[in-house]
């Protein structure tokens, strides 16, 4: 059994004990002046007098010290941590839920976040993009919660780079970490408002609408808000739609269409086994075409990517492949970028990979997402950890029961002190009147 303080800084109030002591030692009550024939008898009694003054009204002083001390201790929130109480804390959990604000499947994410609240003594949802940005708020909120096991649940679509593995080292070890992955869905139609800034720093925005046709063609229209229309056409075979949707999410998610030259560029995606988007390219005017960055995404593994390179611009890599992590590598050749997967990826992995590849393509490979991994089995196993069951009762606490008795003592003591003080004053007054 141990004793903890919920607000230990309040113990500094014990310094206030000096106040009543000082009052009883040096405080001088109002005095009447009495003329005596001589002070010689007083002088003979001075040593005894000094001792008596040091303990003037000692019971009242003791009562006041006890009152003040009890109030300070009560304010400090004493908490007797017994085995049963500790077991009670360990049986409950407070949970911070960090939701990926950049993921597409918002509805599913919200549903999953709501479900994550179940069974928690207290929970808090933090929406952040990337997820790393919400970790600080989650840890701060957990620190303010009553004694219980603490954990953070990350809810996202698990795409590449949405959560840095270094988060595990940043979060206190006593806090558990869990990942709740929501499979991304491909919306039949999507519309997003992208924001950015022009070269003068003025805000700009555009609404990008993506539509998938019945025959598998996906078209995107950008409604000018203050931006020129940037056409983007993605073509794919029907079987590749899931991958193509992931690529589209990656492209739109990075907001490429709002970036000013030289980074503001149109992108043509070429897809192995699919018609080259020559028609779309032809639809572009010369100015747009001049800014075109052909992007080839090879959804094949290893050397096959090179063999099935973009038909209109055969890829002849001259630079070494850049390892992007997660079994992904990329190489830039001329104006083309080839992304290579070591194994057949999931759509979420494709999206994360394309985001990373695009960052490499425009020379922004320092994006913080570049070092993130997709939430595959290996990542999950390395990242997740349970909450420390030995909850120590830190936090503001929800168990003031231990202090209630002290407050009751203080309340009774105040009444006793007031009564005693009145009696002392009354007694002195009567005695003084009787003597005079």
């Amino acid at each position: 059994m141990t004793l903890q303080w919920l607000t230990p800084w309040a113990l500094a109030g014990l310094a206030l004990l000096a106040v009543p002591i000082a009052i009883h030692l040096v405080g001088r009550p109002p005095r009447r002046r009495v003329v005596v024939p001589s002070l010689r008898p007083v002088a003979a009694t001075v040593p005894r007098l000094a001792r008596r003054r040091a303990v003037r009204d000692p019971w009242l002083l003791a009562l006041r010290l006890g009152l003040l001390g009890a109030a300070v201790v009560a304010a400090a929130g004493p908490l007797v941590v017994s085995a049963s109480r500790r077991a009670g804390w360990a049986s409950r959990v407070v949970r911070a839920i960090v939701v990926d604000g950049g993921a597409a499947a918002r509805g599913a994410l919200e549903a999953r976040a709501t479900a994550a609240r179940d069974g928690a003594l207290a929970s808090e949802v933090v929406v952040a993009e990337p997820l790393d940005a919400g970790v600080g708020r989650a840890v701060a909120w957990l620190a303010q919660q009553p004694p219980a096991r603490r954990e953070i649940v990350f809810v996202g679509d698990g795409r590449w780079g949405s959560l840095s593995p270094t988060v595990r080292d940043v979060v206190p070890a006593a806090i558990g970490l869990r990942l709740a992955r929501v499979e991304p869905t491909t919306p039949a139609a999507d519309s997003r408002l992208w924001r950015g800034a022009d070269s003068d720093g003025r805000p700009r925005a555009a609404r990008v609408a993506v539509a998938t046709t019945a025959d598998g063609r996906t078209s995107t229209t950008t409604t000018p808000v203050e931006l020129p229309v940037i056409p983007l056409t993605l073509e794919s075979a029907g079987a590749d739609r899931a991958w193509l949707a992931a690529v589209r999410e990656a492209v739109l998610g990075e907001g490429w269409f709002l970036r000013e030259p030289p980074t503001w560029q149109a992108i043509a995606l070429r897809w192995p086994g699919a018609p080259v988007a020559d028609e779309a390219l032809r639809a572009l005017d010369d100015a747009d075409r001049s800014r075109l960055v052909p992007l080839a995404v090879a959804m094949l593994d290893g050397a096959a990517a090179e063999a099935t390179a973009v038909p209109t611009a055969p890829i002849a890599p001259t630079a070494p492949w850049s390892a992007l992590g997660g079994g992904l590598s990329a190489v830039r050749t001329g104006e083309s970028l080839i992304v290579r997967f070591e194994a057949a990826p999931t759509p979420a992995t494709v999206e994360s990979a394309v985001r990373a590849a695009l960052a490499v393509a425009v020379g922004q490979d320092d994006t913080p997402r570049a070092d993130g991994g997709a939430w595959d089995a290996a990542f999950v196993a390395a990242f997740e950890r349970p909450a420390d069951a030995a909850a120590d009762g830190t936090g503001t606490g929800d168990e003031p029961r231990d202090a209630r008795w002290l407050w009751l003592v203080v309340a009774v003591g105040v009444i006793v002190e007031s009564t005693a003080r009145r009696r002392i004053d009354t007694g002195r007054g009567a005695a003084a009147e009787g003597a005079s």
Partner: protein
């Protein structure tokens, strides 16, 4: 009749008519009058001084003169008439220390001095008065009813306003005396040890010294309680005290002071009496005079 009432409340007598009060008190004391300071009718040697031209050779103290190279004459006094000097302490402490229902020590001192002076004059003695007031109150010893009125008037005008210690006042008073006298000292005795020492020295020099020490309730114990500031009537010094805590110590110290004073006022030709101001004055004075008359001659 005003007498008994004035004896109970002599402080009123000081205001109304000290002469009446003194006569009333003296009448009550008459059967216990004081013993004469010089017994026998013949001349008595008072002291020795240097021989002066014209001195009777019978007065020459040959034994004393033989020890030196100069002549000394015996100084003799006529003891047929007692000379008395009343010395009244007028220090500020005489005005304080009284309680409700009790007169101040100064009031009691006035009545006591007036009564004793009246008693002495009525029996034919000469009485003088000395008080260390400013200016000095000094009335040479004389007799007669008129002189008695002069003394009483002077006593009525005395106020406890001075800061002269009783020992110093007594020393100054004795310097005015040219012959052995009955010296009545009336004081509250709140002085240093020199007070008793001076009285003993006066007695040793041939005077019959009677010390009347007035004790008020405030001299015995603190008459107040609680947190107070005590001001010394003599020096003006102020001390903040808790009278509750101080009471027992103060009483013990005051008792010790009184005991020490009593011990210091013992000796040949030295008589002392304590008069409680809160108690009726006449019985106390009467008991003292009776005891004094029964005292063997020095």
């Amino acid at each position: 009749m005003a007498g008994p009432d004035l004896q109970r409340r002599p402080e009123l007598a000081a205001v109304r008519d000290l002469d009446v009060a003194a006569r009333a008190l003296a009448a009550g004391l008459r059967h216990g009058r004081h013993r004469a300071p010089l017994l026998g009718a013949g001349p008595e040697v008072w002291g020795v001084r240097l021989y002066r031209q014209g001195d009777d050779t019978a007065q020459v103290d040959w034994k004393r003169s033989a020890r030196g190279d100069r002549l000394y004459s015996r100084e003799r006094v006529d003891a047929s008439q007692t000379q008395a000097l009343v010395v009244v302490d007028t220090s500020r402490s005489m005005a304080v220390g009284h309680d409700a229902g009790a007169p101040s020590k100064m009031d009691v001192a006035r009545v006591t001095a007036a009564a004793l002076a009246t008693l002495l004059i009525e029996q034919g003695d000469t009485v003088g008065l000395f008080a260390p007031t400013s200016p000095l109150t000094w009335i040479p010893p004389a007799g007669g009813a008129h002189h008695g009125h002069v003394l009483v008037d002077a006593l009525a005008g005395l106020e406890a306003e001075g800061a002269v210690a009783p020992s110093h006042a007594l020393t100054t008073a004795l310097a005015h005396l040219r012959r052995p006298s009955l010296v009545l000292v009336i004081s509250d005795g709140w002085d240093d040890a020199a007070y008793a020492e001076t009285a003993r020295r006066a007695a040793a020099s041939g005077h019959d010294v009677a010390v009347v020490t007035l004790v008020s309730p405030g001299d015995r114990a603190l008459t107040t309680l609680g947190a107070v500031e005590l001001e010394d009537a003599e020096t003006g010094e102020v001390v903040a005290v808790d009278a509750d805590a101080l009471a027992s110590g103060f009483a013990a110290a005051a008792a010790a002071h009184g005991a020490a004073l009593d011990r210091g006022l013992r000796g040949p030709r030295l008589d002392a009496v304590r008069i409680e101001t809160a108690a009726p004055l006449a019985p106390q004075l009467r008991r003292w005079l009776v005891a004094r008359a029964a005292r063997p001659a020095a």
